[in-house]
């Protein structure tokens, strides 16, 4: 599903280039649950953004579902991104001005899904995550775990093939964290490919593969 060939990322300074990712070669198959680990500043988030098409590689080739992402026009990129990829962040990143319901609904708006269909899909997810009672609350009225639940609901509302989670439990108590990890595991069981960044060995165990990143290099698996 995902194939990175010699991908590098650098930032051009006045005099030299600062490499953040170096010569990344990586293949991830559909249905995998991959954990990326490594010290702070290793480039984990950067790698995730590149895979999620929100950032572009400076060098190398990137194939997503056999399409050449590195040669793609911006329009096709957002197209691919919004229909196949869901993001989950450590800081949840819900929109403060929108209610839980509206937050979950927004990706469908960008995909021009009709009103009645949207209603059905959001209701179904709220029900599944036991958040019906919270649907009209604003993010700052929720606990961290609830916010992350809502964020995951938003990430999967359009049934993406791939979920990218950047330290999804980083801000949560261990109980809440566990709950979120179990949810991700379940989504993976239902067929969604998941790539998560994590610092915790325990969380990494939910996945079936670990990639270690340090200073921009992939260490052996």
């Amino acid at each position: 599903m995902i194939k990175l060939l010699g991908v590098s990322k650098y930032y051009q300074n006045k005099f030299d280039k600062t490499y953040i990712l170096r010569n990344i070669n990586l293949e991830i198959k559909e249905g995998e649950f991959v954990s990326i680990m490594g010290p702070s500043g290793a480039g984990k988030s950067t790698l995730l953004y590149i895979i999620g098409m929100l950032d572009s590689a400076s060098e190398g080739e990137y194939y997503f579902l056999d399409e050449q992402v590195h040669k793609m026009k911006e329009k096709r990129l957002t197209e691919l991104h919004k229909s196949h990829i869901g993001f989950v962040f450590q800081q949840y990143h819900l929109i403060d001005e929108l209610t839980v319901y509206e937050n979950i609904e927004t990706p469908l708006l960008y995909q021009k899904v009709s009103g009645s269909e949207r209603k059905g899909k959001v209701a179904e997810l709220l029900d599944r995550f036991n958040m019906v009672a919270k649907k009209d609350l604003f993010p700052n009225q929720l606990s961290g775990g609830q916010q992350q639940l809502a964020a995951i609901a938003r990430a999967i509302i359009s049934k993406p093939k791939l979920i990218l989670a950047d330290e999804p439990t980083g801000n949560l108590h261990s109980d809440q964290g566990k709950e979120i990890m179990q949810l991700l595991k379940k989504l993976n069981d239902e067929g969604t490919t998941i790539i998560q960044v994590t610092h915790s060995e325990e969380n990494a165990k939910y996945g079936n593969r670990i990639i270690k990143l340090s200073d921009g290099w992939i260490e052996k698996e």
Binding site: L54, E74, I95, D96, E97, L98, T106, P107, Y110
Partner: protein, 779 residues
Amino acid sequence: MLKNYLKIAFRNIRKNKINSLTNILSLAIGLSATLLVLIYVFHETSYENGIKDADKIYQVYHTSKLLPKLAKVQAHSAEELKNRIPEIENATEFQSEELKIYKGKHLERTVNNIAVDNSFFEFFDIEIVQGDKRNLLPNLNSIVVTEQFAKSFFSSNPIGQELKLTTSEGIKEFIVTGIIKPIKGHSQIKFETVVSENIYRRIKESNYSFDAAMDMYCFVKFKKSNFSTILTKIREFVSLVYTLDDGLEMGYGLFPLKEIHLKSDLLVQLPGCSDIKYIYILLSIALLLLITSNSNFISLTSANFIKKINEVGIRKTIGADKKDLFTQFFLENILIIFISFILAFVISFFLLSTFNNLMQIQISLDPFTNYQAYIITFTITILIALISTVLVSRIMAKQNVSVLLGGKIFVQNSKSYLNKFLVTCQFAIAVLLISTTIIIREQVSFIKNKDLGYNIDRLIVIESSLKSQECNSFINEIKNYSGIENVSRATWFPGKLIGHYIGENEKKEDIPVHCLNVDNSFMNTLKIKLINGRNFNDLPTDTNCCIINEAYAKFFNINNPLTEKVFNNPIIGIIKDINIGSLKQNIEPMVLYTFSKRSYGASFIGIKIKPERVKESIEFIMKMWEEFSPEEPMKYSFVEDDLNNYYTEENRLFNAAVITSILSLIISLMEIFALTALNVEKRTKEIGIRKVLGASVFGVVNLFIRDFSKWILIANLIAWPLAYYFMDKWLQDFAYRIEISWWIFALSGGIALLIALVTVSFQAIKAATANPVESLRYE
């Protein structure tokens, strides 16, 4: 989607109350000014648009070396011109006069009447509602009225009814023979009733001649031929008919009908003319306010946007493309602008009567008649929304999501430069306007306090239509009244027009010489100083003598005036120079004669009243006047008011400048108020840390002030030379003017700086005195 965007926009407005409110309010002020001014401009430039072929119609005016250009010409000119010049398709003339309707002895109302020739109705394409189209005024006693007049005056169908009007030739009875509509749209040619010019005996019986009184407005309509050939032909015609006398060159000129309202410089022009200058002034005012409020809008929305970078990042990750984001920001801006637009309408509604008073005009806010003004204002609002959206979107597009999600560092720097630039512009405009206001004020008060060479305290002037003999006996009746200090009769008093001829000095230069007839007490009444010789006495020889002013002696290089003559009239006295007109005019030569000489213009009676007796003395004078002239009510004015009339324009300008400066200052202050609020919010944590580290309140406040003061100082440096340049130009109109001194600039800069500092400090102190622990926990 739209609903989602609007929802967010509304919630944003509610969340950032200060920001949104200042934004909406300042924009509303700018838009309101734009709307009013545009309505005004369209109103003023639409004059005569309702007249068919208005482009081909010209007013015939009278020129001569002796007199200024006159808008009125001799009777029968229209007919004469039409007959002699084939290029003229049609011509018409009319006399405009305010007539009175009496009910018994009591004046019921005045009527704006015109006396026209046969071509008038056809020439101006007047719509006839009722009456014989081919012969609307069949008899000498026929009268035609407008629909509106008919409605307000007659209770039943006016046709055939009688109307009694008091004309300059006495009371006349008319029978209504038609009802017409006024000229469509706005026009300088206004009338309520129309009669035939032949009701005036002198016109009916006279032929075209240059000796006739000039009291007709005359218009010609061209066939296709060009302007200059026709003008030459008219000039040729004039020189044929007119026998030159005293070397005075007289002639005709042509003035385009459509330009009369704004550009006419003719004397005794149709009433109600304006000046194109006001359009320029108002347009620049609106432009300045629009720039200030818009830069306010742009800088506030983009400052606000910094707070939303995170949201942009989120939206990008969940599938928003550039177009989606652009639409969202555009809609949010449009929403604010739309609210401002509605508020602008409300503000305009409340300002309308003030504006109408100030500009002496009657405009309405009706969107249908003023659709152009609305469309332009609305287009401007859309443009503002577009510009600020594009500015914000461009910054957004450059950043990748990780930066957007993470923070604000990248955007902040370039952004706040834009803000500072805009703040600088706004304050430059504010300082420019404040110093302009002060300079205008200084000049106006300088004019009011300038020694004119005569005293006008408690001096009233009556316009007298009495015959010379009657006039003298009237003066004799009142001059011994205990409340009256002095009475004098003259053909000029301050504030009135003065006659002149063109003299020639040794160097063969043309010099206007002002002439007036005065009686013995003229100099006493006005307290004019005699510096040599004597005043008129009742000596029989005095009727041949004259008195001159210093300027006469100077301009014509006379060393021993008392031995010289003016046109064979021995000079018996020299007076100190006095200002005869507005202070835009320099002092020019002047000659005083007694009344038995040829008379120069209308006759006035000046009355100096003793202090504290003003009211009862005027009552007494009015009572006496009624005995002498029961038909004509007494027309009088205080000389002080008459002189003020010279400066109505300056007073208007001053009022406009005050209002604009205040508005522009308010808008600029709102901006720095909102910007400081944002700044304080962004830096709460920093302030907390600084305070924990021991910074004083002043130290923290200084943090915010330092920035703004620097930019306001720069704004001053931009504004001062501009203000100096423009106001020096303006002052050049005055023969007597103040010099622009540095304190004016220091003061206006100081005012702006002080008010700005107070505004900034108000919030900065609030932030600086807040509990630091709380602000740290807050982040």
